[in-house]
């Protein structure tokens, strides 16, 4: 498994999705602008934040399964 601190140097899924064009929009700023949109936006930001946490947990679980020699690769 690639250490988390090294991954930004090797563009994977996360980095590809960050690229909107020639401008780096900044992930935190993107979530923030939902909040700045008002009450409806706060709900959108919360959902996006929650989805992000769920996604990260799923990714972490999948990676720990692959790293664990006791768990068959196809399980």
């Amino acid at each position: 498994m690639m250490p988390a601190a090294v991954t930004p140097l090797f563009p994977g899924k996360d980095q590809k999705e960050m690229l909107f064009g020639y401008l780096d929009a900044g992930s935190g700023s993107l979530i923030l602008q939902a909040i700045l949109g008002g009450a409806a936006g706060i709900l959108v930001a919360f959902k996006a934040w929650k989805a992000r946490l769920v996604g990260r947990k799923a990714l972490a679980d999948a990676e720990s399964d692959v790293d664990d020699p006791a768990v068959p690769a196809d399980s």
């Binding site: 064009g21 923030l32 939902a34 409806a40």
Partner: protein, 453 residues
């Protein structure tokens, strides 16, 4: 023959090339689709008609390899945000937000938010980067929000809330201060204000926590919409509109109170008028322009007039009075250099100005006595413009020179400051075409032309 504009290369979909005096925008397939969407919107016609958006005419044939090409009118003089006054940057910010809101209303968006896409033509901001518009994809956030805060909002906050001039910061780092920089600059009470809390503190915190994570899909799935961008843009507009700088116009009163200003103004205007009649300049640079009186005379003659001064309050008042001159805030002993990518992206002030008449009224004694520039070096610099000039010489006995040297001793001053020595040095570089002595005889005007070769 097309020459690439050294300042237009970041967007692969759209870039500018120069063909003599013509300005051509080259589009790839994506850029062409974006242009077609923009040109079919009603807001494009409205914004170009009222001068807020630069005109664009499609060309029948595009260069090899391009999907399309447009021609724009040439902007007479390019200036950069680090040369603007507070009110100029503020008006540019409002234009950026207005165009974003109008574009969103018709299913378009602006994919960046940088003041480098705005220029001032005849005293008004004009959005010049047609290539920044593209169709809005439902659920997408405003990509330019962070850039807007760094290059518009934070520089304005620096001046309005902290009293710090933004120009040196933007000249040092054209990306502008980060949210973290701003948070570190803000005091405790300032940080409690809602606008600072949200755009500065919260943004800094979220940028730190979420660096390098992808959020676009999550935002789309969560229901992000153009309405949220519009709500944010409306609030930002109200915030920017309320920002005021108390220093604006302060220098004006000080300048107007100088005795020689009123006394000599008419004679200097007439002398300049004669120079304009004699040389019919197309581009005039007014070095040390102060309140812009002489630049305005040049502009009224039909020339592109560039007013350069380090005094931002005076130039800000000039801008707010609706002057058509091109305004540049710059210390003439340290003018804007060539910088950016390969030191060519943003050419230096002299390279951009290309004047055919120089006004140097009330200037050279400040360079000699305040900035300690040797008199021959001042004349070398003026000769470097390679065009006629009107120059005001101020003799050592003048009351202003007495003020400038009040705390200096003779040994600290460069030699060659007398009128005779000045004329001798002048004759080594210029042919004198006209002279006039002003007021009490301590000030003399010269109209000169560089010696051939």
């Amino acid at each position: 023959m097309h020459l690439a504009d050294p300042g237009s290369f970041r967007d692969p979909a759209s870039h500018i090339v120069l063909d003599g005096e013509r300005v051509i925008r080259i589009l790839d397939e994506r850029g062409l689709r974006a242009w077609e969407a923009l040109s079919q919107s009603s807001f494009f016609n409205t914004a170009t008609d009222d001068g807020r958006l630069i005109d664009a005419n499609p060309l029948d044939s595009a260069p090899a390899g391009a999907a399309g090409a447009l021609e724009h009118p040439r902007v007479p003089f390019i200036s950069y945000p680090y040369e603007w006054t507070f009110s100029m940057l503020k008006d540019a910010a409002l234009l950026q937000l207005d165009l974003l809101m109008e574009a969103l209303a018709e299913g378009l968006t602006i994919k960046d938010a940088t003041p480098y896409n705005i220029q001032f033509v005849s005293g008004s901001p004009v959005f010049i980067d047609i290539g920044s518009f593209e169709s809005y994809s439902p659920g997408e956030p405003w990509i330019g929000y962070r850039q807007f805060t760094r290059q518009f909002l934070f520089p304005l906050l620096l001046r309005a809330r902290l009293g710090i001039p933004f120009q040196p910061w933007l000249r040092g780092n054209p990306e502008g201060p980060t949210a973290a920089d701003m948070r570190n600059l803000m005091g405790f009470w300032e940080r409690l204000k809602p606008s600072i809390l949200l755009h500065v503190s919260l943004q800094a915190r979220m940028e730190q926590r979420m660096s390098g994570t992808a959020v676009r899909d999550e935002l789309k799935t969560a229901g992000f919409s153009a309405e949220l961008i519009l709500a944010n843009a409306r609030k930002l507009r109200r915030l920017v509109e309320r920002l005021q700088w108390s220093g604006s116009g302060a220098g004006w009163i000080e300048y107007e109170s100088c005795r020689h200003v009123g006394r000599d103004r008419e004679a200097k205007s007439e002398f300049l008028g004669n120079a304009i009649s004699a040389h019919s300049p197309h581009r005039v640079i007014d070095l040390g322009a102060n309140d812009g009186h002489f630049s305005t005379l040049a502009a009224e003659s039909g020339a592109v007039a560039i007013a350069v001064d380090g005094d931002e309050p005076v130039l800000d008042a000039l801008y707010r009075n609706g002057s058509p001159v091109s305004i540049v805030v710059s210390d003439l002993t340290n003018p804007s250099p060539s910088q950016g990518w390969a030191e060519q992206e943003r050419p230096g002030l002299t390279e951009r100005a290309q004047p055919d008449l120089v006004i140097a009224y009330g200037l050279i004694h400040h360079l000699i006595y305040t900035a300690s520039i040797p008199p021959p070096a001042v004349l070398d610099w003026l000769a470097g413009f390679r065009c006629p000039a009107v120059v005001e010489f101020v003799a050592p006995g003048d009351e202003m020179v007495a003020k400038l040297t009040a705390n200096k001793i003779e040994a600290e001053l460069h030699p060659g400051r007398s009128q005779g020595e000045f004329e001798s040095e002048l004759a080594r570089r210029f042919e004198t075409l006209d002279t006039r002595t002003l007021g009490d005889g301590t000030r003399v005007l010269y109209r000169v032309r560089p010696l051939a070769g």
